[in-house]
Subunit: 241 residues, 2 copies
């Protein structure tokens, strides 16, 4: 298993009113890191598109946060493609503080989609062997999400031009913005997430207005993003600052 | 005049559906650069706050764009504090392509505000002499903005938690998002800005819903951001892609 690491200084604009790294930024820099690993191994996103007409798509995140990176902190980010089976690739990201403490861990599940048919493709060995990823037969069981029984808060969000990435849909990091923003300033400035499960089910396109709903039960929040149908679900655990 | 330079590789998440760097990202990385220069000269934003209770605030930008940085391009960014008078500091940013071509130039005007009274403060020499900035007596005449005579398009934007920075107000780069987004996907995916004048007049706080209005006349667009009163005005010139 090849681990790719990089140091990163957290810039001002990726931190929120509390000086903590914004959630969307966490996932932006994580995916940038795995993109760099692929590029360095000669199996970049461009190569994947040209060779197979495939693209990587994240379907699920499981995030454990000890502490969010802070403004101007120098963190070390590591990523490795842990294992894969016929349909899923499991990749971890670990962010470390300067003293070596683990700040957070992201377990991610990726699929390959055919960019024309938008259908999930089989994982070919030569796409993943350069990562020295372990081939496994079992499908790792994802988190079981609870449907929202009640809604504490909900808010509508219009998709903006700058939410759309080169895949032509809303970038997956944006969902964290919609899901947390609905909780409001008072909650967000006095709480930080310690655990996040998030599952994407359907891409969001330009022109859509999504509804972000949350059921807040103590320090647990249950989320969904809907428009016509469900686009994503999440469960988060929070702690008081 | 001390010039501070840095190389920067444009990450995926800072580019739009066309692969061009997003306007808010341009200003984010520019201000990060000047912040780094200040830090390296021992006159960081923290020093300024602790010593004088002051903060830097951008009041105006004048941007000339030959070409926007592209995804994965390695650019060189340069900045220098050109000149200052009693109230204003003039700082330039120049972004270069790998072959040395100028991509864009940002002329910016800053003021110092007292962070308690929120009032503009006199520019003390020892705050700016480390930059080897030239003291001038004249006030550089800003752009003359035309009030919107007509409105082609307008749209409301709620301020989100992640729009707020550590100064407790909407980060100034966000205005570019609001101002351009109103033009819509078709326009934004077929046009790029070549000149931007933008002037901030009043900060936007959390809880506000702003209206972004635009009067589009051929390849010129006249913008304002209002809620109770005017927060910002801009004029942009566009060219077809």
């Amino acid at each position: 298993m090849l681990t790719y690491t990089k140091k990163y200084t957290v810039p001002y604009y990726e931190t929120d009113a509390n000086g903590n790294m914004k959630l969307p930024s966490l996932f932006n820099i994580a995916l940038q890191l795995s993109g760099e690993q692929s590029h360095n191994l000669g199996i970049s996103d461009d190569w994947l598109k040209e060779t197979y007409n495939y693209a990587w798509v994240v379907v699920e995140y499981d995030v454990t946060i000890q502490r969010l990176p802070r403004f101007s902190e120098i963190i070390t980010m590591a990523t490795f493609a842990k294992s894969y089976n016929k349909f899923f690739c499991y990749r971890d990201f670990v962010f470390y503080a300067e003293n070596g403490d683990t700040l957070l861990t992201i377990n991610s599940t990726f699929v390959l989609i055919d960019t024309t048919s938008r259908k999930v493709a089989h994982v070919e060995d030569d796409i993943v062997t350069p990562y020295q990823s372990e081939k496994i037969s079992k499908i790792v069981r994802g988190h079981k999400y609870t449907d929202l029984s009640d809604t504490t808060l909900e808010k509508s969000y219009h998709v903006r031009f700058n939410d759309i990435d080169q895949n032509g849909h809303v970038n997956n990091s944006k969902y964290f913005d919609w899901m947390t923003d609905v909780l409001g300033y008072d909650f967000l400035s006095s709480h930080v997430p310690s655990r996040i499960h998030l599952k994407y089910s359907k891409e969001v396109l330009y022109g859509t207005t999504v509804t972000s709903r949350v059921d807040l039960v103590g320090l647990q929040s249950f989320h969904d993003i809907t428009s016509e149908g469900k686009h994503a679900q999440a469960e988060m655990t929070w702690r008081k600052k």
